[in-house]
């Protein structure tokens, strides 16, 4: 899987003889090095959870700097995995596109339209040698009036899919396994918040990774986008830790 580029990996404007665009694959590697993010679509909204690595004990965690959860538009949230500065650019782009749509059309941008615009923008950066691809997976979530809660994820190649549950980053395989076990469409967000916290704790590798902070936000029907309130977050976090300890002691 990890083939040496040997000359076909110098710019995004080149294919390799076996049909790969290596720059895009390398961008995907950048995402795989980042902390895990999870999105779960429940019956009444979407929960976004992030395993945010704490780079240094000196960081001021109260001030929510270097957050990976963003408010894009009224009722639209995003979480990001990958190179943080690339992520910030994409978030800004998504915000601008959403605001522009509202200015021209008078209503909030449908999530599908926004996801496609972001995807096109990401894709455009995979076509030319003058730019490099985004090392970002961005998850966009909203509750739409006629279709209900929605999740879309854009990958560094510019591909975008809708999901009922998705993860990206270091432990996405583990996360996906856990997500598949959940009965998402029947579960309200209040429950999913705990499950999301549990999944993040399961994904976190104590031995290899730094200390992390659990960040969560949600978009819910009639309530728009909000960061999960501190006490709810703390409860979910301890549920997550406890569930992990229980499984650990089970396997002893």
């Amino acid at each position: 899987m990890s083939s040496i580029g040997s000359g076909y990996d110098l710019s995004a404007s080149q294919f390799s003889p076996d049909g790969k665009v290596f720059q895009v694959e390398y961008a995907q590697k950048a995402v795989e090095n980042s902390g895990t993010i999870v999105a779960l679509r429940g019956s009444d909204g979407v929960v976004l959870a992030v395993e945010k690595f704490i780079q240094s004990k000196l960081h001021e965690t109260e001030v929510q700097s270097m957050t990976r959860l963003f408010h894009i538009e009224e009722g639209i949230g995003a979480s990001v995995a990958g190179l943080l500065t690339d992520c910030l650019m994409l978030v800004e782009y998504a915000r601008d596109e959403a605001a522009d749509y509202r200015e021209s059309n008078g209503v909030r941008v449908p999530l599908k339209v926004l996801a496609n615009r972001v995807a096109d923008y990401v894709h455009a950066h995979t076509l030319y040698s003058a730019v490099r691809p985004f090392g970002v997976n961005i998850i966009l979530a909203a509750v739409e009036a006629d279709v209900g809660p929605q999740i879309y994820m854009v990958e560094p190649s510019g591909v975008v899919y809708g999901y009922s549950g998705v993860a990206a980053g270091k432990a996405k395989q583990t996360a996906h396994t856990e997500i598949e076990k959940l009965a998402l469409s029947r579960t309200p967000c209040e429950e999913l918040v705990k499950e999301a916290a549990r999944i993040i704790h399961v994904c976190h590798d104590e031995t290899k990774d730094k200390a992390f902070e659990l960040e969560m936000s949600w978009v819910r029907e009639g309530m728009g986008y909000e960061r999960v309130a501190r006490d709810t977050l703390m409860k979910a976090d301890s549920y997550g830790k406890k569930a992990l300890d229980d499984t650990d002691s089970d396997s002893d």
């Binding site: 408010h71 894009i72 915000r95 200015e103």
Partner: protein, 232 residues
């Protein structure tokens, strides 16, 4: 002419240099709102306008609000062209929405709005394409009452009282005398609302484009509230 020149076409290019129609379109307001008045009181500011838009001498819209509530501390209101007002309203509210989304604690305040409006109005007048509005920006700045005026020519000042249009002639004197007699720190909300209502009453009697359906905004420590009443 090459197609590259199309980006720089002016009205005279379009009409072959024979008409100044586009220039003239900017020279007068079309659908207009009449005077606005405002003053300080001990805990904040009171501002009022009526709800009518006139189309020349026709009373065109009877229930039009010329206020923009920016946030709980900041309100602005204007007289003059209503289309220009709506453009500024869209721009301001778009900025307010994006401030909410950023959610970094940075918000509009009266000074910021006043400053920004003045820049925009001055810039347009310098291009001989004015936004035909005179604004009153009011609210609480660092907990203290703030009232600023921004005219369509880009003049700006702050004062404990302000008015536009006919109000400049009829209401300023009344508000100024009241403030000088009592001092802002002794004027309660009720007293200020009473004076402002009397000003609007006088304007209704004497100004041809004023109406008796009025809207009063009060910005104080208790937040921002508005009320619509009909003058007798």
């Amino acid at each position: 002419r090459s197609s590259q020149a199309d980006y720089h076409r002016t009205a005279s290019d379009v009409h072959g240099g024979t008409t100044n129609m586009i220039d003239e379109m900017s020279a007068r307001p079309i659908a207009t709102g009449s005077s606005v008045v405002g003053m300080h009181f001990k805990n904040g500011v009171v501002m009022a306008s009526d709800c009518r838009i006139s189309y020349g001498s026709l009373s065109r819209y009877r229930d039009f609000t010329r206020f923009i509530k920016v946030n709980s501390d900041t309100v602005c209101v204007c007289n003059g062209d209503s289309a220009d007002f709506q453009l500024l309203e869209r721009t301001i509210l778009e900025q307010v929405r994006s401030d909410e989304i950023e959610n970094d604690g940075i918000q509009y305040s009266p000074i910021k709005l006043h400053n920004w409006l003045t820049c925009v109005l001055y810039n347009r007048r310098t291009r001989i394409d004015p936004l035909w509005n005179n604004f009153l920006v009011g609210g609480l700045q660092d907990g203290k009452p703030y009232l600023g005026m921004s005219t369509m020519l880009g003049q700006s000042w702050t004062a404990p009282y302000g008015a536009t249009g006919f109000g400049k002639h009829m209401s300023i004197g009344k508000m100024r005398d009241f403030i000088e007699k009592h001092g802002v720190e002794n004027i309660t909300e009720e007293m200020a609302v009473k004076i402002i209502t009397e000003c609007m009453q006088q304007l209704y009697y004497r100004s041809t484009d004023a109406a008796n359906e009025i809207e009063i905004y009060v910005v104080s420590g208790d937040g921002c509230k508005s009320e619509k009443t009909t003058l007798p």
